[in-house]
């Protein structure tokens, strides 16, 4: 299995994706749309195909909501997409971390 070659090919694929996405949504939003849905999917599930579908679906839903909110409030669309993505990331990942912390804390009090 050519691991080095696959790693290099993946970096080139990432470069092509980032450059094409920069043309469409700007250089600052690419980072948000690339990582936040994938981080949410990584937190929620551990099955690869489910997480892939969830990441793609979440990214599409975030984009639609962001563009709609941008249409009705007048802010640039990248701002609204980033806002939706960040709020959902904080809600899901932050909520799960707080839930883990609360569960561990409560079970540590049992003698």
């Amino acid at each position: 299995m050519p691991v080095r070659a696959l790693g290099l090919f993946f970096m080139v694929l990432l470069a092509i994706t980032v450059s094409e996405a920069t043309l469409a949504v700007g250089a600052l939003l690419v980072f948000a749309l690339l990582l936040l849905p994938a981080a949410i999917a990584h937190q929620v599930t551990s099955r690869p195909y489910t997480a892939l579908a969830l990441a793609a679906g979440l990214a599409v839903i975030m984009t639609w909501l962001g563009i709609t909110i941008g249409f009705y409030t007048g802010y640039p669309s990248s701002v609204c997409i980033s806002l939706v993505a960040f709020v959902s990331y904080v809600a899901v990942v932050g909520g799960s971390r707080v839930g883990e912390w609360a569960t561990v804390k409560r079970s540590a009090d049992i003698p």
């Binding site: 290099l8 996405a21 980072f31 749309l33 599409v60």
Partner: protein, 137 residues
């Protein structure tokens, strides 16, 4: 606190279907939603592997390099889209060539990134003021 809002906002009734159909009758909105959908699917799929491989810093630096590459190409006279793609691919190959040793080279990548952003600001000045760096103005 001043909130900057667009001059003329579309009417927001509480009839959801009417709002969405009013939004979709603009050509640029349909185009934006179509482009956004295709782009989000690809970004979600590629981003999942970026998260798994802990290469978030590489993705962030690639987007900054894209900005600098486009401006540098425009300052030098090339087509900015071609220079965008070319610069990003070259930097990605340079990063991928390190393999797993990228984790120890955060400082080197960050230094190159700072130089790239400085170069991008200079190229933005070159492009916006139509002042060429090798010809007398």
């Amino acid at each position: 606190m001043n909130v900057i809002v667009a001059g003329v906002l579309p009417p927001f009734t509480l009839n959801l279907w009417q709002d969405i159909s009013a939004m979709l009758q603009y050509d640029f909105m349909r185009q934006a939603l179509l482009v956004g959908t295709i782009l989000s699917v690809v970004a979600g799929l590629v981003g999942y592997f970026v998260v798994l491989r802990h290469q978030a810093f590489a993705g962030e630096s690639l987007s900054d390099v894209a900005f600098t590459g486009a401006l540098g190409g425009a300052a030098l006279g090339f087509n900015p889209l071609a220079s965008l793609l070319g610069t990003t691919i070259v930097v990605a190959i340079a990063m991928g060539g390190f393999g797993e040793r990228l984790r120890g080279r955060d400082v080197a990548v960050g230094t190159v990134l700072a130089w790239q952003q400085h170069g991008g600001c200079r190229c933005a000045r070159l492009v916006s003021s139509s002042w060429c760096c090798w010809r007398s103005p």
